[in-house]
Point group: C2
Chain length 358, copies 2
């Protein structure tokens, strides 16, 4: 760490959701940003939004941020390492496979200037119009140096993450890929499998769908074209974990077929343990929370009136969820609060005329 400071110019290659958001965040901090994209319309849109100037800077580039689809990462990273003298990073979802390709095509000296990274932020939408300077605010941003990444290059990429408002976490490329396989890629494909089982179901069976199946399958709506690339690039880590899931599934099938309650209980208990292992809000450990359900007429002013009352009552709401069960002309809103505050909130809201239950 040699007191590196990110002053620019920065070249962002790929003016989609992530590249444009990086440009917007850096411009907001006064850093000079140049943009490149083979799609002229994306480039025009992103520069029009204020994410940077189209073209390559005349001065040396301090940092190149490669923000192209997974299939094109390695070739663009390698060409940027050859064409510029600056540090090169990327914001791709997978780190080992592109690195292995880059190693094959650049010199050892060029390779030292590469440090992969991965902001844990995104949107169901894509393209520069979905971008925002606030996209990375408070999000984790993995910085994944390889064995010969230069120390000052690692510091510069860490500074990029922090300038964009994110919290940087350092991983080796292999650790990173294992971590996102577990926390993102495997949940995604398993969600897709459960959702796929609904696709062939009789419509009248789906009338019994509740909030649980909606939550489990929500992320399965993600873009298959993008996810094909992510999964293919992280196939080793994903297959390793999916084999563990399949072993768990086989154990479950065996427990169901033999009627072994202890085996069922062990699998379910391990699931409960997993839900408490996920870090919570503000990085705090899990605290006990409870839900309070409020009936809210389905028109604009009612949520305002409810939250006005909640604000006056002065109880902090940890989470809000609107229940989507069909057949009801109003919303059922679940307010999650600290367990000890659920009964006081219920009483206070009931006192103000709301229909509330736990």
């Amino acid at each position: 760490m040699t007191g590196t400071t990110l002053t620019g110019p920065v070249l962002v290659v790929g003016a989609g959701l992530l590249g444009t958001s990086v440009g917007l965040a850096l411009r907001a901090r006064g850093v000079e940003v140049f943009l490149h994209d083979t799609n002229a319309e994306h480039l025009r849109t992103a520069s029009g939004l204020g994410a940077g100037s189209p073209g390559i800077p005349e001065r040396d580039v301090q940092l190149v941020v490669v923000a192209v689809p997974p299939d094109h990462l390695a070739s663009v990273i390698a060409s940027q390492l050859r064409d510029t003298a600056g540090v090169v990073t990327d914001v791709g979802s997978v780190k080992s496979a592109p690195l292995a390709e880059v190693v094959e095509t650049v010199t050892p000296e060029e390779l030292e200037r590469y440090v992969g990274s991965h902001p844990m932020a995104g949107s169901e939408r894509s393209g520069p119009l979905a971008a925002s300077a606030a996209l990375f605010d408070g999000r984790p941003w993995a910085v994944a140096p390889h064995a010969t990444s230069r120390t000052d290059a690692v510091a510069l990429v860490t500074e990029l993450a922090e300038l964009c408002g994110a919290t940087a976490f350092t991983f080796s490329p292999e650790e990173h890929d294992e971590a996102v396989a577990r926390t993102s890629h495997v949940p995604h494909v398993v969600s897709a499998l459960v959702a796929g089982a609904l696709a062939g179901a009789p419509a009248e069976h789906l009338a019994l769908s509740g909030q649980g199946v909606r939550d489990v399958t929500r992320i399965a709506a993600g873009d298959p074209a993008l996810w094909q690339q992510i999964l293919a690039a992280n196939a080793p880590a994903v297959t390793g974990l999916l084999r563990e899931v399949r072993d768990g599934l086989d154990a479950l099938l065996d427990a169901l077929e033999t009627g072994s309650r202890p085996a069922l209980g062990e699998i379910l208990g391990r699931g409960v343990a997993g839900t408490t292992a996920i870090p919570r809000k503000h990085g705090q450990p899990a605290t006990e929370e409870a839900g309070v359900f409020v009936r809210v007429p389905d028109h604009p002013g009612e949520l305002a009136r409810l939250f006005g009352d909640v604000g006056e009552i002065g109880i902090n709401v940890e989470d809000v969820r609107i229940d989507h069960d069909p057949g009801r002309p109003y919303g059922l809103l679940e307010l999650t609060v600290a367990a000890s505050l659920a009964d006081p909130l219920l009483e206070a809201l009931t006192g103000r005329g709301w229909l509330v239950h736990r």
Copy 2:
């Protein structure tokens, strides 16, 4: 249908969450309710809440509602068919297995008075203190007559569902079990398997957890003791569907190992199709929606101020979600609205000083 009307008395056996809620809902409609439970404290609590009178009525019971844990359903249904002359229903999560046991132990005449049912409502909490007359409001309630259920008995149980505020759907017991295996039991166990894979992960890997894995694993926090009973009782339907999920998992592993993009795309595309098959709010078909993200300082008055502004802007919010990524001293609230209203909402909120992005 002979113009049956549910006038009572109704006997509710089992004063837990569901039984007490049924009692409260029926009492609110003026129906006479009696309560029975082997747990004296539950009985005292439920009657204290106004869910009915403890004890057995002197007059003939018109309807018995059995609301005991899955393992005890069959024996209690059978004893109620023998001990009373009324219609008997239950509110258990599984219908075929208890029916098969009941058939073995009652006369064909007694069996005609039994009609199983299943309200799709619950809570992470259990016991009478979690009960509410509003628990079934707008929820689906499956009515599952067997081959020799009397028509007037089916009508009476359908009326029970509607009096409790639910929407009744009729299924055969086998269809019901298949439907809930697909929409509830399989999502639950798969969620538990994904959550279980987190339980053994290094804590630093879990720092990369986003909203996706939180949603997929939320229901895995459910009570293992209750879910053991549900899964064991519905083992045939659950195992059938889980074998399909395992086939999908094997196809996925094969596609990852051979690098077959078309096969990956097919699995992911089927998942997308499944997410659109789930019925939406008010039973409407899926309409295009979009999310707008608002930065909300993490103290009580801010949600009120935000929803006050949203109310004045006059745009109807379809869903609300608070994003729990750690490391951020404020909440990121996602407001879901009709796709065509997302940009107008973004502009209007920005104009009122909120930090908003899509």
